[in-house]
């Protein structure tokens, strides 16, 4: 559990304990509620990005789409809080990874199933999660975490189904 050395010789620091990470995450979430009036999120930024991309490539179809149209009418992706929040997530994670010697360009989880299978699964998993997060209007952070903190019914339903299905699918997709 002490520091170990990565291939480049930079020290690899251990992860925080779940209690430390959980308490700090809870305080960050609380701060976010105080500052912005809502919780943390992630998937919303991808919706704004898709809307922006659709507007650039097929503007007529984007405007007429029942989901993307109203979102575009609300304003540009760069005007929305969630876009900047997700950029912040990327920055904060990069700083943490570099500080702890944990930045490494690699395909994770390909030891048993091979690189191609791992990437195909990552793509399929991303599609399922991207689609699902739109159906529930929020993902693990936006609905599960932030919603549960305000005791939302939707959040608890989401979390129960999220973990139950995850356990089930993991059994069928064994071999990581």
């Amino acid at each position: 559990m002490s520091t170990a050395s990565s291939g480049q010789g930079s020290p690899v620091r251990p992860f925080w304990s779940p209690v430390t990470a959980g308490v700090v995450l809870g305080l960050v979430l609380l701060l976010t509620f105080v500052v912005s009036g809502h919780g943390l999120g992630a998937s919303g930024a991808f919706s704004h990005l898709v809307a922006w991309g659709a507007q650039l490539t097929t503007p007529e179809a984007a405007k007429g789409n029942g989901y993307l149209g109203p979102m575009l009418a609300e304003g540009h992706a760069l005007d929305s809080w969630i876009t900047w929040e997700v950029l912040g997530v990327g920055l904060g994670a990069a700083v943490a990874a570099f500080m702890a010697g944990r930045f490494k360009v690699q395909v994770e989880g390909c030891r048993t199933i091979g690189r191609t299978s791992r990437l195909v699964r990552a793509l399929a998993g991303g599609m399922l999660a991207g689609f699902g997060a739109r159906v529930s209007a929020g993902c693990t952070s936006g609905l599960g975490l932030s919603g549960a903190a305000v005791l939302s019914i939707s959040a608890f339903v989401f979390l129960v189904l999220f973990f139950a299905t995850g356990l089930l699918v993991h059994r069928f997709a064994r071999g990581e």
Partner: protein, 205 residues
Amino acid sequence: MWPLNFGGMVSGLVCGFLFGFVLENAGFGSSTKLTAQFRLTDWSVFKVMFTAIVVAAAGLWLLRLAGLMRADAVFVPQALIVASAVGGALVGAGFALGGYCPGTSVVGLSSGRLDAAVFVVGLLLGTTLFAGLFDHGMRKLMSMGEVIDGDTVVDAYGIPEPLVLALLAAALVGIFILGGWYERRGRGPVTAAEVLDAPEANAAR
């Protein structure tokens, strides 16, 4: 009175920065560590999420009691049972199969993980597919099973807030006890050295 309702770029960047910083330090930029939760050998995901939920929920309650936070001023998602259930199942399946959820895939990408980059491409494709199907059934599906009486368990079912918080705290203790038992029985939590294939990890195996 709080909340301050800062909805701009700086507020987003700062809150997001802290969020990403904590998630990476928890080990949640690693698909190996994240999926170990579903293998039941590493309970960090449950432990961190539930601790954070209890801390934030209790904090919001205390801020309201102290008169610092306006009641009903924070955003609460609409109670839509069918949409939350279907979405939760799909995000859970995507997590188990792809190794990330939307937020943690951004953390993985920032840590140099190429599988996370591919997952992000999948997220964009899945979102595009959803937009394409929105007017063809999705809108209708999502409006099903709305809870009319309220959006929180306190409003809709009349459960007193302190009791809900106590139940959440009890669930948290249960997760730590059950998770600790599974972790001692199995190979234990995934370490940073293992994820990075550092020499110490290989020696420990």
